[in-house]
Symmetry: C2
Subunit: 265 residues, 2 copies
């Protein structure tokens, strides 16, 4: 396989599966880092902070990875909104339909988190994963957007993720769908397969698209987004999607690999 | 205008606007009833019972209209589910994501309303308007449908309705969108523009499509549904949609009328 200056790795299904570490991934990534390649981790999950993911990665035995080498969809939203805030410093009222991790990021960049009942004064509505979502919060958000002109940001489009016993955990995409339907307005989405998260990762690595490989286990997020940007992609079979899914989704990666050690071959 | 044996009237925007009675509608409907035409009222709103709407209609001065001449989308769901129950009497566990009116209808037909935490045992999930909707209830419903095979029924697709001060009230369609997204399963919808409510009205009147006129103020629900069934339709300009909306929606009624007195001309 071609050698790239930079590698962007999805996390769940690529370096771990739930609580289980994928040891080939640890070995492969450590080799890439030792050989001077740039490495970043990206995740659509907005429920944790990068600093928490950095600990997870370190505890797995992956070397040389800090908070700045990890981008959650919440980070990408905060990078996007920081730029918006620089242009319009007065527009800083944000209605948060999200958990504490994203709220922390919003405070860090100087956003003013408003009480949801004060929705008339929102300049932005941000939606991330939160099990505290309810009709009233969704209605406030829809009014902020459709009636009072707030900009609508979604961290990620994931409809659901696997939970225990084969059950599903309703995702950010479901909350976004409620508010998009009520407001009849589409959210701007930060996470994969949308371009912001890939662009933010390239900016952090100071590399361009042709120098970088996206590595992920999900065809309709990781690989689809890379394809749409013209970035090479490696579909790894350690996660949720199987080889047959390539035809089913009609999404075609540059490489199909069994595990991350194949990146070194 | 051609005379029909039966007339189906939408309510909000046709016979009243909020608290305001449309007097031409009262006069026109009373004349139709006196002249021996059959009349029914249909509404996508599942938040009230037919008996409550019958009182509203009576208090407006419309004569000869009882509970059985009114169909809410909740009634249509109960007619549909009563037939299902007759075929499969053991499948009677229903997870209710809806208000008390629909719950009452479900009890009346012999459904067993389960605790949402008992979602694994649901045979049906029904969604109507409820401001008690929250993430946990949506997640339970999505698991009932996607993992445990419950049939997914939605009373109506309305995304939002007008509220005070130009604001919007997030509708049943928004709740359905959350659960459809999380479960990746489409609901079977009872209300306009879907066929069940028109068919139920015809069944009640013992008339067929060609003998009946649908009268409504909303092109994308009232008129669209009638068109799709091949039923004649009258678009009345006393409600939310204006004449220009015909081109915008590209939905073309049989007649455009200023108010219901035009039905008598």
């Amino acid at each position: 396989m071609k050698s790239y200056k930079g590698y962007i790795f999805d996390m769940d299904g690529v370096i771990y599966r739930g609580d289980e570490i994928i040891y080939e991934a640890v070995e492969a990534i450590n080799t890439l880092v030792k050989n001077g390649h740039k490495v970043m981790f990206v995740t659509n999950n907005s429920g944790k902070l990068a600093v928490e993911y950095a600990k997870v990665v370190k505890n797995m035995g992956i070397i040389g990875i800090g908070e700045n080498d990890i981008l959650t969809s919440g980070n990408v939203a905060s990078i996007y909104l920081k730029k918006q805030l620089a242009q319009n410093p007065d527009r800083k009222n944000i209605l948060c339909v999200c958990g504490n991790a994203v709220k922390t990021l919003m405070k860090e960049i100087g956003m003013n988190i408003i009480d949801p009942k004060d929705y008339k004064n929102a300049h932005y509505v941000i939606v991330g994963i939160t099990t505290d979502f309810n009709w009233e919060l969704g209605d406030h958000a829809a009014n902020a957007i459709a009636v009072y002109g707030a900009e609508f940001i979604g961290t990620n489009p994931d409809v659901a993720k696997p939970a225990e016993n084969g059950e599903i955990f309703a995702g950010t995409g479901s909350i976004i769908a409620f508010i998009e339907t009520a407001s009849q307005t589409k959210a701007t989405i930060m996470g994969k397969p949308y371009p912001e998260i890939y662009k933010s990762a390239l900016e952090r690595m100071k590399l361009d698209i042709k120098e970088t490989l996206m590595v992920g286990d999900l065809l309709n997020t990781d690989i689809k987004g890379a394809n749409e940007l013209g970035m090479d992609s490696a579909f790894v079979l350690t996660g949720l999607h199987k080889k047959d899914d390539i035809q089913r989704f009609d999404i075609h990666p540059t490489y199909v690999i069994e595990n991350l050690l194949d990146l070194l071959k």
